[in-house]
Every structure is written in C-alpha cells, then in structure tokens.
Assembly symmetry: C2
Homo-oligomer: 419 residues x 2
C-alpha cells in the first residue's frame, strides 16, 4: 500500500510558509510501514488541484491532503475532491454543532463563511477538530482513499495522532521498522566511507545516511510480516554500527534529540546545568527547555549579549574583555566558569561568537565562535569557524555547544568511574 501527500496552499508556493505538514505526515505514515513515494504542493487553484488529483490517484492508494479547508474564499480542497469524484457537498450536522460550540466557548461571533466548514463531500466521514473550526474527513472511493486535513499544524497533528493513525493502521498488513543511529563528530562522507561495505551489501534492512546540522543520522529500515520479525532484522545491523561508531553515537531512539541526550546524561549523573549565551542568545537554553523534564537539570540561563552583562551577570573580568575582546577563548572560559559559579551548577555551557552579517574583522571574521564548557572544576574551550548566514552560524553554534557538553560530561564520568 502506498500513500502520497498533497499540500494545498498558494502560501507554500510563494514560500511564505515552510511545509512542516509534509514532513510530519511522512514521518507518521512511514512508521506505519506505508510507503510514500511522492509529496507535492499545489496552489489554491481548482484547475491545478484537479490535475494533481488525477495524477496522484493514478499512482497512489491513499491521498492525504492538507490545507484549503479554511473558511476563506480561496480554500477549495474539499470542493476539488468532491468535483473530481463527482460528489455533491452536504452539511454534516455534527460538524456544524462543533463549530457552534467552538465559537460559543470562546465568546466570539462566527462569521458567515465559517459555516462553509461544515460541508463534506457526500459519503465522507468527518474527523472532529478539537483545536479549530475545520473538520477533517475521510472519503473512501473505489480506486483511492482521500484523507483531508486542515493546514495549521496545531489542528492537523492532534487529529492525525488520535484519528488518522488508528484508521491507517487498520489498513496495514506488512510492517516497516526503522531504527536511527544518531552520530555527532563525524562528517557524512566519512561516516558513509566507514560503512561502505554495509551499504553495498544492504538488501533488507536498508541503510541510509542523512546529514543534519552538526549530526549524521544512519537509518536502518526493515520490512517484515510482523513487528517482531522486522525488529529482529534491524538488531544485528545496529549492533555493528555501534561497534564502528562507539561513543560518537548519542542515541538510537527516534524521539531523542541531541539536547535530550545531554539532558538524560545530566539527570542520570545528578548534575545540574547553566547556560551563558552571547551570539546564540538563548537558543541553547530554549532547546533544553523544549524537552519536558528540563526543570530537573536546568538551574538557569543567562543571555549575556552585551559586554556589560557578561561582567555583571557572570563576572567576566573587564581586563579580560579589554585584552582579548568579547569573542575570545578567554572570555568563553570566564563565561562558563562564572555561570557555574553564580548558579552553583555542575555544568555550564558558554558561547561567544560573531554571527554576522556585521561585526567581522580580518582577524576575527564572521563565523568565529568560541564554545566553553565547565564540568565540576574543569573548563574546556573550543574554537570554531562556521560559514553561512546569521541563522546558520547560530544554529551550528548551539548544536556544537551541546556536542561539546556531551563530550566533556562523558570525559568527566569516565574519569570518575575509571580513575
């Protein structure tokens, strides 16, 4: 069985928004073992919606559409699906009631165009929407099943989790199983060279490498009649990868991000964390707080973007700033030590750098970043020279700060354990 995803919205074609729905839906259906060979985006245009439905229905068993269910004039996804399948639109009583309740609860007067959202192609089953006014719907036809969902991720995702996933799972026979081995500190080319023999020999499971900001993920995917069998196929391959990459692997769990891995390392060693950020401006602490349970380890964070705040909040010496400049090994070191000291934390990560586009000099170019990490009395500082725009440099800095923290904590633990 295969599915494809059609995201509808001129705002996607104009590049006003990033298509996170396609990634979200793809990830979910791949977990169910449903193959996805195509994603596409069309605008709010009836003719091109119909052309895409023709193309897609000729090659896919399931078509998942997102967007274009809103109350506004240019929303026309269900109209296109109805027209393509020669079905009339009829009002769904429950959906109308839900819309009434939605507005009543919020004490807002619905506008006339909101009622349009209660219309469904005849024969479609509504998917209630707990977070908005547009219901989703499932329409089964002879050739193809259409699943329509609203565009806002905050509405689409809960509907997908609670209603679409169980529906799709009920259609599935064979099972795909994937395990992702997440690696830091090794480049993509190098990683692939290290496992070329495994890639050349792959059949089932398959092995693929993906580069992420500062990371390489190796995904091992098997297909079998049941989950137990599929897991059994993946296991020896993951074991071999662990042998080859050792400590560079921070997780093999789909849901564990680098920040969560660092957090879990801190929790399991009863260590607390502080962050002192200049050019990342809170990106690291925000990634940590993005993980639930951060309160167990994060004492506090400082955004010390100005020189004065570096001095006042975490005690960087004026003489150090004067002598070496704010972007220097010495200041990164004092930031890490000072943050740990002020907050009485076991671990403190510091970042100071030039994210650009301005502020670079020949001696200290844009992209020069010093990352410090204090762990129980020992401070390590690394120099990085990143390239890219402000956003990329800041993200690379945050990721490499987490990587350095992981290294330093592991080093500390191994010293404590093995002397």
């Amino acid at each position: 069985m295969n599915a494809e995803i059609i995201c509808v919205g001129t705002e996607l074609l104009l590049g006003n928004i990033v298509n996170t729905n396609a990634a979200y839906i793809s990830e979910r259906i791949s977990r169910l073992g449903i193959a996805c060979y195509n994603q596409c985006v069309v605008g709010d245009n009836m003719e091109r919606c119909l052309a895409q439905l023709k193309e897609s229905s000729s090659r896919s068993d399931i078509i998942i559409l997102s967007g274009g269910l809103g109350p506004t004039e240019d929303d026309m996804t269900k109209e296109a699906v109805a027209q393509f399948n020669k079905l009339p639109l009829v009002e769904d009583k429950d959906s109308r009631k839900s819309i009434e309740e939605y507005f009543a609860k919020r004490n807002i007067e619905p506008t006339e165009n909101n009622w349009k959202q209660a219309l469904l192609p005849k024969g479609a089953k509504a998917i209630p929407n707990a977070n908005g006014t547009a219901p989703g719907m499932i329409l089964e036809t002879k050739n193809c099943t259409y699943i329509l969902l609203p565009g806002p991720p905050g509405e689409l995702e809960p509907m997908f989790e609670t209603q679409v996933m169980p529906y799709l799972a009920s259609l599935q026979s064979g099972v795909l199983f994937s395990k992702t081995v997440k690696i830091v500190g090794v480049g993509e080319s190098k990683a692939e060279t290290m496992i070329k023999d495994m890639i050349d020999a792959q059949t089932n499971p398959t092995i693929a490498t993906y580069a992420k900001t500062g990371e390489v993920h190796i995904r091992v995917t098997s297909y079998a009649s049941d989950e137990k069998e599929a897991k059994k196929l993946v296991k020896p391959v993951v074991k071999e990868l662990k042998l080859r990459f050792g400590n560079s692997i921070y997780s093999t769990d789909e849901d564990v991000t680098l920040e969560r891995a660092v957090m879990e390392l801190l929790v399991s060693n009863s260590m607390s964390l502080c962050t002192v950020e200049s050019c990342t401006g809170g990106l690291i602490s925000s990634r940590i707080v993005g993980e639930s349970g951060a309160s167990e380890i994060l004492k506090c964070g400082f955004v010390t973007y100005s020189n004065k705040s570096k001095r006042k909040l975490v005690g960087v010496k004026k003489s150090t700033l004067d002598k070496y400049g704010a972007v220097s090994k010495q200041v990164a070191s004092e930031m890490a030590k000072g943050g740990a000291n002020v907050s009485k934390s076991d671990v403190c990560i510091s970042v100071t750098g030039i994210a650009g586009p301005d502020g670079g000099t020949e001696e200290k170019p844009v992209g020069l970043v010093y990352i410090g990490c204090y762990v129980k009395g020992k401070t390590t500082v690394k120099e990085f020279r990143f390239s890219g725009n402000r956003n990329k440099i800041r993200n690379l800095s945050a990721t490499n700060a987490l990587i350095l923290a992981r290294e330093c904590i592991l080093e500390y633990i191994s010293k404590v354990n093995f002397g």
Copy 2:
C-alpha cells in the same frame, strides 16, 4: 514563464527533515515574478526521478532540483537529469579543482566518492559552491532549463543568491510585485471578513490572507510590465488596508519579522530591553538576537526556569511564589519588574506558564501562560490559555509576548507624546 521545484531525497519522504529549500526557492523566484505552480518531492530512486522529470518537463519552463548531489551512493539527481536528456557525464576541471582546494583548506583527506561530485551532464555549466564540495549546475535544453543545487541550505542559499538569482532575472520580462501587510491581534476569519469587499473585487493586484502563529499576513500582489507600474498598482490597496487595520499592522516590509518590529520600536525610542523567561526558556531572547543589531537594545536575558532562579536572579518574592504559585499573574508581574530593575532596562518581558505535557492541574491546566511587560514603571500582565503540544504552546507564548511588548511600548509612546 513558470518554474517548478523538485526536491530529491528519501529523507524528505520519510519525514526526517523538513523541506525548507522548497520554501526558500519559491520565495525567491516569486520575487522575480516567475510563477511557481508545483513543488514536489521524490526519493533517491532513479525510476521515480525519471517519471517526475517527464511530468515536470511537460508543464514547466524551468525545473529547479535540490538535493541528491552529494558524494554518497544514493545521490543520483544529476545522473537522472543526464539520463533523461540522454547526455553523458563528464568531469568538470574547475569543479575538481574546487573540491581539491576545499579539502586542502580544511586539512581533510577527500574520500574516493568525493570525486564523483566533479561530474556534470555534458553541456551543463557548473555553479561553484563556496560552502561545500558539490557544485550546482545549469543545463539548458530545447524544452526546458534544469537548475541543480545541493540539498544543504547553507550551500544552496548562497549559491542561489549570488548565481541563480541573476541568471533567472536575466530571463524575465514581466514583473510581479508583492507587499505583505503583517497584522497581529486579529484572527484570520475576522481579518478576511473585514476585507471581503476588497477580496471579491480583486483582479490585479490580488489579495490573499495567510495565518501564521499569532499573526495574519495579507499579501497584495500585482503583475505589470515593469516594477514601477507593478508598485503603482499595489500602493492604493496597501493604503486601504492600513486604514482598516491601523495599529494592528506591525509592518509592510517583507523582511521585517515581529521581533524586528519590536526591536526597531525600541531603537527609535532609545529604549533598552530585558527578558525573563520561564517556559519559553530563551525563545524570546533568541528571536531578538536572531536579528542583527540586537546589541543596540538587548541588555540581557534571564532564563528562570526554576523557582529558585526566579528569586535569585530577578528577585521574585518567596511569599509570592508560595501564595500564588510560579504560574500566576503576580509572579509574571514580579519577574518583569525584577528583570527591569536588575538590568536597569526600560522594557522587560516576562513569561511563566505550563507548556506541558505534564504539570497541569484542573485549576492550572497545560496551556495556561502569564505574560508580563514592564515599560518605564508600568507593568501589564495578560493571561493566555493556549492549546497544542509543548512546542506550539512555547511558540505561541513567545509570539504573544512580542505582541504584548509592542502594545505596551506603543501605549507608552502615545502617552508621552499626547499626554
């Protein structure tokens, strides 16, 4: 002239990464007035790449492909384009030299598969890549022009800016011009109802509304023979929107985000900023620091995720925490006042809330967030009840904190000016 975008990569179909390239390229080509009616994603699979090239070349003048130019086995985009156009792959001397230099500069030994990246379909022109080893390429054929770019955004974007944009501009005759009116504090349905007459009457320019997290954008787009004429068509429509939405509009500039608008407001009034964040954990300060020039206004930021840090860093009273709890109007207020006081800032934004998934109670459910804003002696606190997952609640909190800051600063300024 129309273009379409094909992003190649199984990692996109598996949902391992979000397709930011499609948004980036779309946004850029729409600025040039090149219509984009389709985006699609195919996996690293020769057969489906060829099928997509057939479909796309039948309907588009320009096909922009991203991804699949890497050194690894499954990278096959240029192989597919070469095969589809019946062209051999030949080594490009300059590209080979660039790859040699890239590795020499970094003191890394290239692996055998890196040299594959110097191969181009015969007749294609290489696009040098300053940030990686995969050159891009432009291949002009009788029917269609193919532009191939590497997948990593940090490589693709600089190549697009400096080399692909000028190439595409040279092909263009008519001009599209867009202006986006960015609104906060008004929902999408309401915004559209407020301008229904304008939408019904639209021809050239066209008017479209887009909902973003906490914002509504209205995009006005005209098409004309030259830029001056196109701008002239857009102007009266934007003027009318300004009349209708007034102060709810924070910008009409494509590049001005909400955080930049707040920043500019602070700069132009010589005011300084401090942030005190609990559940957002540095998201607000990070958004501010994401804008270049943040050093002009941001004194510092505090991530006070723990109760202790709320007390120690910004002086929230123990009695207030005990009596009302960390997530309360009173604590948000003391956080804002305390942050301003400690940092001697004119403005201080504070956030405290329950982002979930755990930590909610009947009285204080997940999604309950208090946002405070101190402006020169006056503190305002607003209660919000957001729904969605942890990430959504945190993002909504950050956006609404910026919206509240904007309101409070505007209120202060109007009081100072008009007494």
